[in-house]
């Protein structure tokens, strides 16, 4: 563990230096809101941003990603034999990522890196990525990260955690990857360990006090899965849902994807796209049978998966880091905090 002081006047120059060996990503504001984007040369991340509409998951898990390619040209020797697509996994750094997005990456890792299978695309990207986090001193109104195992200064999943102290950043280096990145930027002004840690503790407590939103999840584990599934409140929850994919796409812990093949003349490629359990086609069999063909079944699936199935399966808390993006972006204002409360307090009537 090591602490570094970074004068804000040196920030842009430092990260520019790191471009020699790192591809940079960070928050960028545009007319449609703030997003985590690749930073072209000269583009500095907007470190004053509050929330980004989309999470950082697209750095490791792009919305469209080619997996395999094959030639369909029968005169070529290895025609119809698939090869891994040439994607680059050069080192990259995500600057200014929020702690809840980094924690979310750890949750998503449980899906892509299991004892039976390793998704090479996601995992190679993960290994090549350094996460430089920025603590949230002023949590937004939809941030409920502290009640779901995360928080505005949570260190889980980060390689560096930075605190914004007006004219400078105080950076806490958490991992060897973080250390390597600091070196690549030339940030080496060491700060006193004890004082710095004390300062971080104060900042964390202050920030957590400013969290205005919360949920209760304490009784979810003990609820019987099928009782929650058959509960009568789902019809009311689901009425306004328009089954778009907004909640799933802005959510940093949602990982479902679709795999498709496309051809262009004699070249074929197999790629994956983000997909959403809210789509009516998600579970439709080729025969036409659709186990979740009715809207309420899909709405129920999303909340049950996030707040109950994942909890029961892995016993690592719910599949939510409290970023509040779905609450803000849902076109019909379906609020996961309310649904969580309803589920947590549900008692089956006999």
């Amino acid at each position: 563990m090591k602490f570094i002081t970074i004068d804000k006047k040196d920030w842009a120059k430092g990260i520019d230096k790191s471009r020699r060996t790192y591809q940079l990503f960070g928050p960028v504001k545009d007319e449609n809101g703030c997003k985590i984007k690749e930073l072209d040369t000269g583009l500095v991340p907007d470190m004053d941003y509050h929330e980004s509409v989309m999470s950082a998951k697209s750095v490791l898990f792009p919305q469209s990603e080619t997996l395999l390619t094959a030639s369909l040209n029968e005169s070529v020797e290895d025609h119809h034999i698939m090869k891994r697509a040439e994607n680059a996994y050069t080192p990259r750094a995500v600057l200014g990522i929020r702690p809840y997005d980094a924690k979310a990456i750890l949750l998503v890792k449980m899906n892509f890196d299991t004892k039976d299978y390793r998704d090479p695309y996601w995992c190679d990207a993960y290994e090549a990525t350094t996460l430089v986090g920025l603590g949230i001193t002023r949590p937004g109104p939809f941030d409920f990260s502290t009640s779901v195992g995360c928080g505005p200064f949570c260190e889980d999943g980060l390689d560096i955690l930075m605190a914004d102290l007006d004219d400078h950043y105080l950076a806490k280096v958490l991992t060897p990857k973080g250390e390597a990145y600091a070196v690549a930027c030339g940030f080496d002004a060491a700060a006193d360990d004890k004082e710095s840690q004390a300062l971080f503790d104060i900042l964390r407590k202050e920030a957590e006090k400013n969290i205005a939103s919360s949920v209760e999840t304490d009784k979810l584990k003990e609820k019987v899965l099928l009782d929650l599934h058959e509960a009568p409140f789902w019809d009311e929850v689901a009425f306004s849902c328009i089954n778009c994919g907004t909640c799933t796409y802005v959510c940093p812990t949602c990982w479902c994807f679709d795999i498709q093949d496309e051809t262009k003349q004699k070249e074929s490629s197999r790629f994956r796209n983000w997909d959403t359990c809210m789509s009516p086609l998600f579970t439709r069999h080729a025969t036409g049978h659709n186990p979740r063909g009715v809207k309420v079944q899909r709405v129920r699936q999303r909340f049950m998966h996030k707040l109950k199935y994942f909890l029961d399966k892995y016993d690592q808390g719910i599949m939510c880091v409290g970023c509040g993006r779905c609450v803000k972006s849902c076109p019909v204002n379906i609020d996961i905090r309310e649904v969580c409360q309803t589920m947590n307090t549900y008692e089956k009537k006999d």
Binding site: L67, L68, A70, L72, H79, H80, I81, M82, R84, N111, F112, T114, D116, Y117, R118, D119, P120, L225, L226, H229, W255, C256, F257, D258, I259, Q260, D261, E262, T263, S268, R270, R272, D275, C277, F282, T283, R284, H285, A286, T287, H289, P291, R292, Q297, Q301, M304, H305, Y309, D312, K313
Partner: protein, 281 residues
Amino acid sequence: MENPYMPYPVRIDDIQIATEDKSLKTFKFIFLNEGDEEKFAYHAGQFAELSIPGVGEIPIGIASSPVEKGFVKFTVFRTGVVTSHLHNMKVGDIMGIRGPLGNWYPWDKLENKNVVIIGGGFAFTTLRSSIVYMLDPANRSKFKNIDVVYGARSPGMLLYREELFEWEKRDDINMHITVDGTDDPDWKYHTGFVPQVVEQNAPKADEDTYAIICGPPIMIKFTQPSLTQLGYKPDQIIMSLENRMKCGIGMCGRCNIGKELVCKDGPVFTLDEINQTPKEY
């Protein structure tokens, strides 16, 4: 670990029309690369993703048995984009197979037990794999009595007809072949729906007997009560679920039902496990 999305290249070695209405075909594949067949070592009950570059992938139960070497066989029903394309392919064409995927029938639990196999329609593929496995001289002594009830709409819709009739002649397996109806006067076997044939011919349950059941949802729905009547408890009834799948390795989330991922925690479940899962299959 290898890339789990990468299929093993295979060549179509043989295509047989499996049913009289030509809606099903049995494909025999041979691995192109030395060593791939060993890597693909599978158990009866598993499935694989048949992969056609430029078209897509489909999850299909493995019809050949682990004791059959040199090839793998799948029986495929033509119903959508990929299956239609596959049905139009020729011997010699190259494509891919990903797998083996999913869990398998609990062979270790079934040792020294009586096994009752119940199948309907074209869900008989992994059951064929299981029967060939059990009947193999190296394995037969591991199991006690084997009873099979298999039904289809008509004689021409039964899969693996020749093999079925061969097994019927054996004395180390009790075959109860049935059809819903037929106007063939020479039909030697049962006529009637699977649930009734099960009720009339399947052995009563005891703690040494397990039932493996695989078929269309409607057959399962009506066969379950027959088994319950014969005394089978939910943890003695083993089923294989189907669901919409894409990755087959438990990552894309599509086949998720309750806590289970059908492609990874299944597709084989006991009825007991299924009863604790939402009915979204």
